[in-house]
Homo-oligomer: 215 residues x 4
DNA sequence: ACCCCCGGGACCTCCCGTTTAT
DNA sequence: ATAAACGGGAGGTCCCGGGGGT
């Protein structure tokens, strides 16, 4: 089974290298030759693991999906704070994890087939979580849940998009600024006492990075 | 001078076709052959007007810059309302004008050289306009100008980004929803009476489209 | 020995699949992956039995050689009738047996090395048999043996060649028509009474098919 | 028009080189790189004239069709002699003209689409000419026209096929031998006085070669 | 001045026939 | 006998000049 292990390591190296180059150069500009070179394997090895370039893309997106699912996992706090924490986790991971970043940005390319749309997944999760917050009566009565969802999704997409060129958009302070603003309108004047705009997660890497991705 | 006229028409057709295909397929995926075919000219003509593919991209971006500058032109209202109106104009144009959409989305590609960064221009303008709004004392005292800027820029970028795949993100109602939320915290409780979240522009196309782009 | 048996069955399956695909797609177009897939074994197994692609080709040709040798075996009739019968056997086998067909058509490819040339073997046999017929005084005196050989070999090659695209060239009636014509000039006016243009073999499969190829 | 001339020369060089290599190595084995190198042009030039490899093949086949049509042109002699002459022309051209040889041998490959089947054209022509010979009462009454057609077509195909490996099959003497045999059966005992088995054409190249192919 | 035919190479993706470790 | 990895091209296409026409 030692063989299998090496195969897995090779596969991971390939996915990682692909994510890096897809993220840096875009899907079409990144060449398979560069990817396999960076992964330290031959182009034949690449083709052994991934039949085509889009298969490689799909692998990146799928892997990013795992990360996203970790971020949107269940948490034991008020839904609104969960929203804040998760968005911080997302942005932090976007800054640190090429695979998530590449997968998020490129999930549209693979759209032809049945590959998952990561932004869609994120949006769905934000929707249900916002509704949960509404049920917990943590939102001002005159705030439509849908408005909050729209704002949060657009915000995250914007940071991801802008962060692609200037990494400073992905700093914690940036998102915190936005939440500071939003909290006041959605949660009323007492917001600052109940919720932490900066998120409650540690300042370290997202848990997924530490526990799972370390192989 | 009939020659000149035809040359201009050819050039415009080229820029338009390029914008369409850059927007649809991405910069690298779009081939010059396809572009010249869609513009109805030969590939030789393309190279007569544009020395290289990036020169064509630059033309698209420059042209989009004209549109953006029209959107961020001077207006005679309170700065905060101007911000609202301009963001609506931007989003509407993004939905209607391929050139602007392509130029905005691809302004990063040409970044190597001295070509303008449209998102940067937009951000700068938002900054100074927000500061103007602050000087006009239209913002709640406990709202940092920088927070507003961040939120608005991220929001616009997010809508542009999401709108690339699902055009519904570029509908007027979407942005209106976000402004409804923001206005309450940045402009205090009287916001609804002073400002129009839906923007004050007509519901038609942005002025630039009507007056300038008609050739 | 059960192992040996399975190995032989695997080998035969491989040769059969190779013959099929070589015949259908040509030697270079047929891929080893397709061949091993059709044989129902792994590509590793293929390389265990055949060191290279040409080794596989050689096996097909060698196997076809067995078939050809059965067709040109000794028979206890007048040499001219033997010629007729054997040519019918050959054409019938060409129609029914992929291995023979592939081996015959591709025996040129392997020509570089020492692999047998099936068409050459056939030609040699026709030559000696025609001479035998001459010795038996079954040929008209004004017919050069060499002319008969040339005609028969060219005819068989032509049918094989044309049969590759349109199987009807390999029907018994086709060859019978040619022999009907030839017999009259090579065997004199009494030909029709002495020889059977349609061949004396049964109308079933060639003997080799029945006795040997049944595994 | 100097440009046009060069283009035509380039195109012809490409077709010629392709025919040579298709004939020598087979369609799939011949690489476009080798073809363009032998033609003395770049691979880009090749792609300018021929969109794909099969397009190049089609051009070869089409060009060979021209040659074939010249061979089967109208002649002012008895139909049976025309048949003899044309078959000699065909075989001689097969020996001398790579384009015809390649086109004839490969006309099956392009069969997918609507490309012409050269052997089919030849067969049709032989059929109508044989029927003409029958109408002219030059055939023995007990000879079925269809038998003659079959024999002639199979013969020509056989010589073409065998000539691919051993050029001696394409010598004039070879076909003459076959016709010597055939004439006696189809045209009766007086055949030798009426018809020339060796053909009436000069011993030089086929007319097409001389008059048309010289550019 | 404006345009297009023709040609030039540089890659890129894909896949193929192979060995090496196990 | 297998799973994994290897390189080497294959065909295709792309982005571009350069020299003639109009």
């Amino acid at each position: 089974m030692a063989k299998q292990e090496r195969a897995i390591r090779t596969r991971n190296a390939l996915v990682g290298a692909a994510a890096e180059l897809f993220d840096r150069d875009g899907f079409e500009s990144a060449s398979l030759a560069t990817i396999s070179a960076r992964a330290g394997v031959s182009s034949g090895a690449l083709h052994f693991h991934f039949a085509s370039k889009v298969a490689l893309l799909d692998a990146v997106v799928t892997e990013a999906g795992e990360r996203l699912r970790w971020i949107t996992r269940q948490r034991d706090t008020h839904a609104l704070q969960v929203l804040i924490d998760a968005s911080h986790d997302l942005v932090r991971s976007l800054a640190q994890d090429v695979v998530l970043r590449a997968g998020f940005g490129l999930s549209s390319h693979s759209g032809r087939g049945g590959v998952r749309d990561l932004r869609g997944e994120w949006q769905s999760w934000v929707e249900v979580t916002a509704e949960q917050a509404a049920r917990e009566e943590m939102l001002s009565p005159d705030v439509a849940t849908r408005d909050l969802t729209t704002a949060v999704v657009a915000m995250a997409a914007g940071l991801e998009c802008l962060g692609g060129q200037d990494r400073r958009w992905l700093e914690r302070a940036t998102l915190t600024r936005v939440w500071t603003l939003l909290l006041r309108c959605v949660a009323g004047p007492a917001a600052e006492e109940l919720f932490v705009a900066a998120g409650r997660g540690g300042s370290g890497p997202a848990p997924y990075e530490v526990s799972m991705a370390a192989r």
